[in-house]
Symmetry: C2
Amino acid sequence: MAQKPSIAKGTRDFSPSEVNKRNYIMDVIKKHFKTFGFQPIETPSFENSDTLMGKYGEEGDRLIFKILNSGDYLRKVDEEVLTKKDSNSLTFKISEKALRYDLTVPFARYVVMHQNEISFPFKRYQIQPVWRADRPQKGRFREFFQCDADVVGSDSLLQEIELVQLYDAVFTDLKLEGVTIKLNNRKVLAGIAEVIGESDRLIDFTVALDKLDKIGIEGVSKEMGEKGISESAIEKASPLFSLKGTNLEQLNILGELLRESDLGTKGVEELTFIIEALESLGLQSANLKIDVTLARGLNYYTGAIFEVAAPEGVSMGSIGGGGRYDDLTGIFGLKDVSGIGISFGLDRIYLVLEELGLFPETADSSLQVLCVNFGDKEAMVSLKLVNQLRKNGIRADLYPSSAKMQKQMKYANNLNVPYVVLIGEKELEAHSFVVRDMIKGGQTEYSFNDVDQFLKQL
Amino acid sequence: MAQKPSIAKGTRDFSPSEVNKRNYIMDVIKKHFKTFGFQPIETPSFENSDTLMGKYGEEGDRLIFKILNSGDYLRKVDEEVLTKKDSNSLTFKISEKALRYDLTVPFARYVVMHQNEISFPFKRYQIQPVWRADRPQKGRFREFFQCDADVVGSDSLLQEIELVQLYDAVFTDLKLEGVTIKLNNRKVLAGIAEVIGESDRLIDFTVALDKLDKIGIEGVSKEMGEKGISESAIEKASPLFSLKGTNLEQLNILGELLRESDLGTKGVEELTFIIEALESLGLQSANLKIDVTLARGLNYYTGAIFEVAAPEGVSMGSIGGGGRYDDLTGIFGLKDVSGIGISFGLDRIYLVLEELGLFPETADSSLQVLCVNFGDKEAMVSLKLVNQLRKNGIRADLYPSSAKMQKQMKYANNLNVPYVVLIGEKELEAHSFVVRDMIKGGQTEYSFNDVDQFLKQL
């Protein structure tokens, strides 16, 4: 009995049309990564386990796919370990490698191992798959691509400015206009915690604050109270409830509130510098918005925090995010290297472009010309034409057998081929070929000497 | 203590220059895959183990990387299995997934699972990494890319013809002229075995025959004898020792020899059809050569067998290969689908292009313009210029801090930047910028209104 084929849970096959559309997005992203001076690197799919383990917290460790050692991997394992049936402790004995969980830790390893070949600041981009043993669910996969751009070795705020521009350039080029780039700063968050005296409950605080638009000041205060945030803290934080107006106006209010906190004041200054610079430089289509509730990866980031929201009306989580981190390479022994990076959410961008019908027709680059096959002699002449078309970059093909006309035309239809070429006995004699326009209908006869004219039509 | 970083055995980091050069090769290959009517698909990095196991022989099974199940994978394992310390039988209990070993079996799975969406003949290409637990050695890696193009659902010999042309188109475009495409047919090999009565020793026979140029007829006969091939068999095979002349002349001799074998005669007819068609169509730069000793993957292929050798003078194993197989999808329950495919050896092609200095300068697409940073005010104006350049597709950047001129110029040199732009106080006042040509030397001043002129220079 033949085996019934199946695909691993949480993974996906990509059809030609899907690959073409994904490549369209990645090519646009790459193009702008390059014009912004980022250079590509690639790291291996698996790393030694100790490179990855302990870098993503307990939950992360659990979600890392481990690779079984090859050969007789049990040979050197103590019987005692086996009889205990302790999966965790056995893992270290029988697995030394693991699939990468993100592109950031491998990048840190890369920078440390290649520090002598690298000119800092080092601007790198990396577009590769990562793997997570998450429970598969709608929109969450066990294998997915990350598209990251990072700069290491520069603490200049120009990087923050450039990364916002990079987001703007990519989404504008993708015709996805009106995305909102939200901006916050870890130092502002730390400042708020310091000023209101609720460092431990900062996340509860920001989660509640984020609902201001929906549930109003009263609702937010109530939720904060329920989470154990003191009345005096809520009172002190009250200026945050009326953060209104332009980005700079909001930053003014924030500056007032955080006057007493050195760190907070620094954060406000940084944000002000970034906002002013970007107002002077201008953005093409994105909106830029200070958002003090933005706290993604709080423990990870030390300065700017970014997140990109799809245009209004599209219900989709963030389609990009990033921020500044101060000591990425420290874990591998290279100290004092500040870094900042952003990432693009390929799968979600795909869904948004699909929903809004923004994929250009040219993104799906399937066959442009199919020659019908009328038999060996005709086929050889057709192949000569096909060769000429291909040499001019046209995606052309000859149906491989002289099957019934109906079957060949059905194939052309299935592939959405815009032009079908017919070279039968009559055309063979006349040294000509007939081009049938499959979209507009009608057909034209060309002499074999006038292939250029057909090329122009294409 | 910080952890000393390391990379997993048999894997590689790719630097920007390496990624750019690899992408150059892959882009050329992809371009021709597309013009020849192939469509991209992608399959997941890991498959359910039963999709892969048993498909590559015992050795293959051993070389497949297995992924440990997540969570408490030992919980349901019988203690008995554990105490036996039998790695092989435990593997099936604690691992359900494995990294793909090649692109062919996943492709077969894809075709069977998506057969209702596919229009046959289905021409697909796939460029993705594969993993093998081989002992790492020079030029052999545990992770490497395969670049495959296959057609399933057509037994037309036009496919053989087109695949030879595809090899020719790719290598010509890579400026790697003079590769030799070797061609054989499994039916010819079977016919030889039949005619000389040594089916069991066919591989020994072809291996010895392959040495004809080096050790002469006598040497070959001696080696065949030593391998146990009978004298009468060697006698019968003797016409193979004097296979000389053009491809068609050799096919004539071969046709004579295999007259008594129906299969062998069929093979010679197929080869003759292919050679004649390709002589009529012409190749751009590749040589085409019948090679009856070519036997790669003997058990796998059922018709044509291809292998590509680097140009003479370059010592490198084959840089591509492939052939026709009659029942790829049968293992997954879809019968009678003939397939044929070729693959490009990315790593070896890279080494050959490197050795012959064939990478175009443009392949390494690093920064084109770096603006020196003289301080915040100058930087903002520089960023405006950088933005304009980037919008025109130029890879441009601003040094992120107003470091010493010397340091910034050193950075420009390390990155091989051809143009450095200077906007200092004086230029700020004059609304101008100075462009220093880092290759030819000398510098030019442009007004900010004449950015177009600088763009022309680029």
